[in-house]
């Protein structure tokens, strides 16, 4: 929006217009002391750092991400080797297999570590897709109003009217065929409605904000007001909801895989491990299901802690 300086551009006649402003008698001065300038995001980081549970959650989450990246490299066994188990239904935890093995003798620890990146990737990218679509649709809806707003919001109503799980299962059967990318796209495309509604609600309240009126009063254009003034102020709650959506997407992926509609059963994901372990549970072989289940639970809990911290940190009414 800023035009580059051109040769014939008019410089502000600072000397011509307001010399008297500067040279005039001493004006009353409002004295105030400030040590450092922090913007809204820096302030949010500062508030976040004071939230103990959020920090614990963040540390846990970073550890899980680290495991997802370097875990498969340092894992002691190949996840798709089938050495065969000594006992039927898998061997219990031992020094060679700290989390036991499944009925085919595959190391559960290797399975958990290899499943991490799939769960995280599905959770993260599906949420990012839902977020991008939701923010764009919500911004347009909230900024435009009228007929456009009405049509887009009825579209959101339709996405809410159809049971999500049912739609995911159908879509997974038709388009998925066990592919991770397909699952990410399906989750993302079916879940943007929530974000769009939230962004729109934020826009509707911010549109009436004093600073938006003040920006209009100095002649700032509509596009600039929408994307530079309103959108950054609308993002706080959206980030919080996206964090929680990511956690729920990880659970959803495990659930869909558990029902054998998700990632191909041959892939070592947490959901698949749970699914395969179903029969072994009856034999008392708890470890096969326990460790992948714990991995899911810890990941979701850590993300929810982070989301809780973000909620407090990004609350516009919160003060440092």
């Amino acid at each position: 929006m800023f035009k580059p300086e051109s040769a014939d551009s008019l410089p502000i006649p600072a000397s011509a217009a307001t010399p008297s402003l500067i040279d005039g008698p001493e004006l009353p001065v409002d004295v105030e002391v400030a040590l450092e300038s922090l913007n809204q995001w820096q302030l949010a980081v500062k508030r976040f750092m004071r939230h103990r549970m959020a920090l614990i959650g963040l540390a846990m989450f970073c550890f899980i991400v680290l495991v997802a990246i370097i875990g498969p490299i340092v894992a002691p066994y190949n996840p798709i080797d089938i050495p065969g188990a000594i006992h039927q239904g898998g061997d219990g935890p031992s020094f060679t297999h700290p989390m036991g093995t499944d009925d085919a003798g595959r190391d559960v620890y290797t399975m958990v570590v290899n499943g991490a990146h799939i769960s995280l990737a599905v959770g993260f990218f599906a949420t990012v897709i839902a977020g991008i679509i939701g923010i764009i649709v919500g911004s347009i809806s909230g900024a435009a109003g009228g007929v456009v707003d009405n049509l887009l919001m009825r579209l959101v109503d339709v996405t809410f009217a159809v049971p999500l799980l049912f739609l995911i299962l159908v879509a997974a059967v038709f388009f998925g065929q066990g592919s991770m990318v397909a699952l990410i796209l399906i989750f993302g495309i079916l879940q943007w409605g929530l974000i769009a509604r939230l962004v729109r609600a934020q826009f509707l309240s911010l549109r009436e904000a004093d600073f938006v009126e003040a920006a209009r009063a100095v002649g700032v254009g509509t596009m600039r007001i929408t994307f530079r003034h309103i959108l950054p102020n609308a993002l706080g709650p959206v980030i919080v909801v996206m964090t929680l959506l990511m956690a729920s997407n990880i659970v959803l992926e495990a659930f869909v895989s558990f029902l054998n509609f998700g990632i191909a059963a041959t892939e070592p994901t947490w959901g698949n491990a749970l699914s395969n372990a179903q029969n072994a549970m009856g034999d008392g072989n708890w470890w096969w299901a326990f460790f992948p289940g714990m991995a899911i639970a810890l990941t979701v809990i850590s993300i929810n802690f982070v989301g809780d911290g973000l909620h407090d940190a990004l609350d516009p009414r919160a003060r440092l």
């Binding site: 929006m1 800023f2 035009k3 580059p4 300086e5 051109s6 551009s9 008019l10 410089p11 502000i12 600072a14 217009a17 307001t18 008297s20 402003l21 500067i22 005039g24 008698p25 004006l27 009353p28 001065v29 409002d30 004295v31 105030e32 400030a34 300038s37 922090l38 913007n39 809204q40 302030l43 904000a209 004093d210 600073f211 009126e213 003040a214 920006a215 209009r216 009063a217 100095v218 002649g219 700032v220 254009g221 003034h229 950054p232 102020n233 516009p316």
Partner: protein, 370 residues
């Protein structure tokens, strides 16, 4: 109700102000018969219902009235910042610098806003965007109207911060609104409004949200800047003390209309309209200690059920004959002095209710019988 009111005195009250005619060059802002209505669920609210006033170049006018009388809506209408719908500019003309701005396109109006006329708002705490530095926001106002580089916009912003009395402006430039006090933020808002050398500044209750000492500083600042730059100022307030100190002329508003206008001295020392008289009498300091304060009896009329006659009639201690049925237009009572009250009209010019006269042609009633 079909009485024709003689409107010749209106033309007398406003020479050269007939509808559609360009005002003389020394008049910067000429608002004529302005009506801004809001269409809400319960009906139509006539927030501004026939407002007339003028501001000459470099002049300061105080628009005074109680809450809900339409002062702010008047100012927002002049800036064309009313949301349409639900708002509607139902009638009138706003001549600004020789142009009827109601005829301008939205983009032409955007060019005027901030550069030719700008506005200072009531709430400095919420009128700055929390995600940008104050300097960025002043520079943005400059860049919206001037084709300048980022650096010269920045220089201009720092210059403006210095001009409104903010110490170490280079450092303040980089600070965020939450780091400034209310008084400082209002200075920033003033810097922003002044950054493009506007011909008119509209200040909508600029000191209401500030404490008394800061109020005095901000008024002093606005006065000194106005004197030095020669910018015209429309100061909107409910505080008579504020206008008494700051402006040359006063227009008093009641229930969407101007009821009295004149120089500050004339209006405050010799109010002609009973509403203005009531306002001045209700200032606490005019009453000896220990006595009950004077009040204007009654309340502002319900906007859905405006009185058919003078809008102040139900509360007026001097109401007489024509007041209940006829709405008094503004009448020139002295040079540049106007008042909308039947008391200011000679008895011969007062309208008379028609119902006393016999009905013109009675409708014949036909009996239907067997």
């Amino acid at each position: 109700m079909s009485t024709v009111i003689d409107l010749s005195h209106v033309a007398e009250a406003a020479p050269g102000r007939s509808i559609g005619q360009k005002p003389p060059d020394d008049v910067l802002l000429d608002v004529r018969g302005l009506k801004t209505y809001f269409h809400v669920l319960d009906g139509t609210v006539p927030a501004v219902d026939g407002v007339d006033f003028q501001i000459k170049r470099g002049e300061t006018l105080g628009l005074v009235g109680e809450s809900g009388c339409g002062k702010s809506v008047t100012s927002l209408t002049i800036m064309r910042l009313i949301d349409i719908p639900p708002g509607e500019i139902a009638a009138g003309e706003i001549w600004f610098d020789g142009v009827d701005i109601l005829s301008l396109s939205p983009s032409e109006m955007r060019d005027i806003r901030g550069s030719e006329m700008s506005m200072i708002f009531q709430e400095p705490m919420t009128s700055l965007n929390p995600v940008f530095t104050v300097g960025y926001q002043i520079a943005e106002a400059v860049k919206a109207h001037r084709n300048v580089s980022k650096n010269s916009a920045r220089d201009r912003a720092i210059e403006m911060l210095a001009a409104v009395g903010i110490p170490s402006p280079e450092r303040r430039f980089k600070q965020y609104p939450h780091e400034l006090s209310g008084g400082m933020r209002q200075r920033v808002m003033i810097a922003m409004a002044l950054s493009c050398d506007p011909k008119l500044i509209i200040a909508d209750e600029p000191t209401t949200a500030l404490d008394v000492t800061i109020q005095a500083q901000i008024l002093e600042l606005m006065k000194s800047i106005q004197e030095r730059t020669g910018t015209a100022l429309l100061l909107i307030t409910h505080d008579l003390a504020v206008v008494a100190e700051t402006v040359e002329r006063i227009a008093v508003m009641y229930a969407g209309r101007i009821v009295e206008a004149g120089t500050a001295e004339e209006v405050l020392l010799d109010p002609k309209h009973p509403y203005t008289q009531g306002l001045i009498a209700s200032i606490p300091s005019t009453v000896p200690r220990g006595q009950r304060l004077n009040v204007i009896k009654g309340t502002v009329p319900n906007p859905f059920r405006m009185p058919t006659g003078c809008r102040f009639e139900p509360r007026c201690p001097h109401a007489f004959g024509p007041c209940k049925d006829f709405d008094p237009p503004l009448r020139l009572t002295g040079p540049n002095r106007e008042s909308a009250c039947w008391l200011q009209y000679p008895p011969g010019e007062l309208p008379v209710k028609e119902t006393d006269a016999p009905p013109a042609t009675p409708v014949p009633v036909e009996r239907v019988g067997h």
